[in-house]
Each structure stands twice: as structure tokens, then as C-alpha cells.
């Protein structure tokens, strides 16, 4: 369909702060930071707890469960790297542990009511899948449970 050369995958830039996160993410696991002193939970990772610079931030494995705060169906490619993947769904998931996280949303396998898309508070589970940028990372799948109370 296109004569453009094949584009590479879109991969995350890693740093000492985020290396553990990405090592886990490539296995399909989400790591979050929790403060051992004030219990704040954060994503994306930060080097210092906002509750106090002497506090100790520790990684823990998130449940991978959450609810959709929003999603969009991308129907126009803004970069050659995703041109072959249209349309794809991007989800903003509110994890049960609190933080919001961006990932892709796997299409509803039932195909039912696909045009309408998922509704507010739809429960999702994150596990390893092919992300729109071509890497295998945690992506959201619709969970077989009723939508969370919304608002």
C-alpha cells in the first residue's frame, strides 16, 4: 500500500530511574513506586518522594487491574512508525493502586458494538501484548467483570 521504507519500532528511552520499570514491563508486569514512609503511589517514576526527600521509594508489582478513565481510537497516523497499525486504541487506565497509566487497549474480541467502544469505568486487565509502536509491553484487555462505579 505504501512505498515508504519500513519504519522501526518505537521503544522507550531508559534511564537509571526507569530501567527496573522497563525490565518488568517487557515481561508484562507494571512496577509502581510506593513510598515506605507516606504510602504515596506514583507513576511515572520520580527520583524523590513528593512527601519528603528523605522518604524511601520502593518498587512493587501492580495488580495490573484498573478501569478506563478514557480512550481514543487513533485513525490518522502522525508518524510512519504507526502507519501500518491503524486504527489502534490508546487507553488511559486508572490502576486500582491509584496512578494513571497510558497503554494500548486490545480490541473487544467479541466484536460486539465495536463502533460504540467501551463505556465509562470499563474494567481492564493489563498483560503482555503488542503495543502500537511494535514492542511487546503491558496492554489493556477488557476484563470480564462489570464496569466500576463512575465518578
Amino acid at each position: 500500500m505504501t512505498s515508504e521504507p519500513a519504519a522501526g519500532r518505537i521503544v522507550p528511552g531508559e534511564s537509571p530511574l526507569t530501567a527496573a520499570y522497563w525490565a518488568a514491563a517487557r515481561r508484562g508486569v507494571i512496577l509502581l513506586q510506593r513510598c515506605a514512609d507516606c504510602a504515596v503511589v506514583m507513576h511515572p517514576p520520580e527520583p524523590v518522594c513528593p512527601g519528603g526527600p528523605a522518604h524511601e521509594l520502593r518498587w512493587f508489582e501492580a495488580s495490573g487491574r484498573g478501569r478506563l478513565a478514557s480512550f481514543t481510537s487513533v485513525e490518522h497516523a502522525v508518524h510512519p512508525a504507526v502507519r501500518g497499525r491503524l486504527p489502534y486504541l490508546i487507553a488511559l487506565v486508572e490502576l486500582d493502586e491509584g496512578p494513571r497509566i497510558i497503554c494500548n487497549l486490545a480490541p473487544d474480541p467479541s466484536g460486539s458494538d465495536a463502533a460504540a467502544g467501551p463505556g465509562p469505568g470499563t474494567r481492564v486487565v493489563l498483560r503482555l501484548g503488542r503495543a502500537a509502536g511494535g514492542l511487546d509491553l503491558p496492554v489493556a484487555y477488557l476484563a470480564a467483570e462489570p464496569a466500576a462505579d463512575w465518578q
Binding site: A7, G8, V11, G13, E75, H79, L92, C103, A131
Partner: protein, 394 residues
């Protein structure tokens, strides 16, 4: 905040022609916009002693100093892209109020059509030719490491997420959201029709045409998104003592805020939606400093990278309760006959995308009574971009 008394006045505005396609560099366009703004003010380059620009601008201070022969004693930059439009006024007012400068030129030059396309991701990821992996850097959305690998690559896609969240929290159907957003696009296109500077002045838009626009990132369609365009705009801010000696009255900056709190940086997805309590607190403080209330505002220039930003801005700055603006906008639009005309130049959707600087020049013209879409009651004008905002008055 600048306090209840205006510490500075805007005495000149100028812009280059706005176009989609130009053979002129951002440097040349910046010089033209600044030269026109100084001529508008009745000032010479030798009067300028300060410059404020966006950190994103490729035309740096030294380039303007050389081209215009400036000798300045103060310069500063605003960050986070479009948050800079009202923020440059905060910088200029601070410089003037402290005596660091007396005449400060604020400018933005952006060849967003021929050079740096903000609707695309090449500016952050590279062009993607070949098979090498593309590295998404930083922790911001869009395009950062936690967004880019999932194909969240453009501001419009982030704002599509805002729009869907707004729809859900307001309890709207797809059709209800589309009718509200469509009214924003249609009203601004009506304004553009009377504005000779507007790139889309000859392109009419009605609801069927809006709804027929192709879906870009659902629920946002083609006409929900800002233009990509080439152009530059500038304003001249002066101390009251300088302004008093000029041939016509300046426009007062009654208040300006360059706000930031957790996750309020531009186009963030991790914090509260942009009609949330922290944004409303910024608005409350700004109006208090200006000695005004939202009902006193006669025109609002609200940063419109997409239509949803207008609904969120109307709610953040106190014109409607959260998740209520859609109703009034659906019913009355934001056009000439609406209770509060918004983006009366056509805005980023229909005039040009100069990263908010063109909203400042229009706000000044409304305060002077010189807008192509002049409102009948000349009065205070709000200029806002997320957590940055300013109130201007004749």
C-alpha cells in the same frame, strides 16, 4: 499576579502574514512581527530594553538583537509551549514592575506548516525512515517513553483522551459531545470570515460539514484540531511612564499568572482534567488580583489546540461549572451573538496557529475597539492557556 493596579501596559501588537506555506524563515517573520509591533506602538528599536520569548522558539534573542540593532538589559523565556502565551505577559510585567526593563517585546515565530509540524511526531521521534528503532525520550505525554511506545504521539491524541473523559464525566453521548465541540469550531470559523488575517476566512463551516470531517483520533475530528501554519506575532509591553507618552492609550495588564502544579505541564494526562479544582483556584486568584469576576469579562481568548480545550477553559476560568459548558455552547455557540464570545479572531482553529501569541494580539485589539469582530461593550478580556492566564483591560 501583578496586583490590582496595572504595572504594565501593552502598547503595540504586530504580526507577519499568516499562511500555509512560506519561503520566509522564522527569523525573517519574527523581525517583521516585532517591527510592526514597535511601529504600532510608536516606538523605535532603540527604545527596547527587554525581550521575552518561548523556549521553543528557534529565533533566539541574539538573532533579534542583531537584526534590529537592539541593546537590551533583560531577556527571559517561557516553557511548555502554548502555556507561554499569557506567561510572556507575566515575565514582561515582572521585568517592568521591578525596573529591570521599561519596554519589553514578547514574540513567537513558528513555521508550523513548512518546518516544525506540531500535528506530527517527527519533531520528537525523527523521521522514522529505515528500520532502526525510534527512541521515545522523557516521561511526558505525548511522545515520551511512557506514551510513545503505545503510539500516543501528538497533542491532538492527548486531547482526544481529555475529550472522552469529559464526555464520560459529563454523561454525554457521542452525538451530544460532537454537537458541543462542533459549535466551537463553527463559531470560530464565523469569526474568521470577517478577519482578513485568518487563513480560513473563505472556508465556511456548518454542522453537517463539521460532522463529515474525518475522524483523526476519536472523538476528535478534523475540524476539532488547530491549523498548522506559518507566521509570527509580537506584543510590546511598556512601563506606565513610557505608555503615557505615546500617542494612544495602552491596554492594561490587570493580572497575569504563570501557574504550575503537579502534572499541569502542557498536555499532561496524569493529573486532573483541566477544569479541575487546581485550575479553578488559579482562575480565582487571577480574578481577585485583577479586582474582577468572570461575569465582567466581555471576550475570552482560550487556548484552542483543539475544541475540547475551549470547553475546559470556560469551566476552569469560572464561566461555567465543571462539565456544564457543553450545554450552553451547544445552545448558543461562542460566536458573535453568544453571551461570551470566545476566540474572536478565529483562533488556532481558523485564524492561524502561532502558539497563543495570536490570541494576545486579538485580545489587545478587542480592548482597543479595533477587532475585526469587535464586541459592542469594550471591556476586560481574558487570555488563558491551561494554568497560565492574563486579564487585559482598556
Amino acid at each position: 499576579m501583578t496586583g490590582r493596579r496595572a504595572v504594565a501596559q501593552i502598547v503595540g501588537v504586530g504580526e507577519s502574514a499568516y499562511s500555509r506555506g512560506t519561503d520566509r524563515s522564522e527569523w525573517e517573520l519574527a523581525v517583521e512581527a516585532v517591527t510592526r509591533a514597535l511601529a504600532d506602538a510608536g516606538l523605535a528599536p532603540s527604545d527596547v530594553d527587554g525581550l521575552v520569548r518561548y523556549s521553543y522558539d528557534t529565533v533566539d534573542e541574539a538573532m533579534l538583537v542583531r537584526s534590529l540593532g537592539l541593546r537590551i538589559g533583560y531577556y527571559s523565556q517561557t516553557g511548555y509551549g502554548g502555556l507561554g502565551a499569557p506567561a510572556v505577559l507575566a515575565h514582561a510585567c515582572a521585568a517592568v514592575a521591578s525596573g529591570l526593563a521599561t519596554v519589553v517585546v514578547c514574540y513567537r515565530s513558528l513555521n508550523g506548516w513548512t518546518k516544525t509540524r506540531y500535528g506530527r511526531a517527527e519533531r520528537t521521534l525523527g523521521d522514522g525512515r529505515g528500520s532502526a528503532d525510534l527512541v521515545a525520550v522523557g516521561d511526558r505525554a505525548p511522545s515520551g517513553s511512557f506514551a510513545g511506545p503505545y503510539g500516543l504521539l501528538s497533542p491532538g491524541q492527548v486531547m482526544a483522551l481529555w475529550a472522552r473523559e469529559y464526555q464520560w464525566r459529563a454523561g454525554l453521548t457521542d452525538a451530544q459531545l460532537a454537537l458541543a465541540l462542533g459549535q466551537v469550531a463553527i463559531s470560530q470559523r464565523q469569526f474568521a470570515a470577517a478577519n482578513p488575517r485568518a487563513i480560513l476566512r473563505d472556508k465556511t463551516l456548518d454542522m453537517p460539514a463539521y460532522l463529515a470531517g474525518r475522524m483523526i483520533s476519536a472523538p476528535l475530528r478534523l475540524y476539532d484540531l488547530a491549523l498548522e501554519s506559518d507566521g509570527a506575532a509580537a506584543v510590546v509591553v511598556a512601563a506606565p511612564s513610557v505608555a503615557a507618552a505615546l500617542r494612544r492609550p495602552g491596554v492594561s495588564v490587570l493580572g497575569a499568572v504563570q501557574g504550575l502544579f503537579r502534572y499541569a505541564e502542557s498536555i499532561s494526562v496524569y493529573g486532573e482534567l483541566r477544569n479541575g479544582p487546581q485550575y479553578r483556584k488559579i482562575a480565582h486568584n487571577l480574578f481577585s488580583a485583577a479586582g474582577l469576576q468572570p461575569k465582567d469579562i466581555v471576550v475570552a481568548m482560550i487556548y484552542d489546540a483543539t475544541t475540547i480545550s475551549v470547553l475546559l477553559g470556560l469551566e476552569a476560568y469560572g464561566f461555567h461549572e465543571p462539565f456544564e459548558a457543553w450545554r450552553a455552547v451547544t445552545e448558543h455557540g461562542i460566536g458573535p451573538a453568544s453571551p461570551l464570545p470566545v476566540n474572536t479572531s478565529g483562533g488556532h482553529l481558523s485564524e492561524a496557529y502561532v502558539h497563543g501569541m495570536n490570541h494576545l494580539t486579538e485580545a489587545v485589539r478587542q480592548c482597543r475597539g479595533e477587532s475585526a469582530n469587535q464586541v459592542s461593550r469594550i471591556g476586560p478580556v481574558l487570555v488563558s492557556s491551561g494554568p497560565s492566564a492574563a486579564v487585559l483591560a482598556p
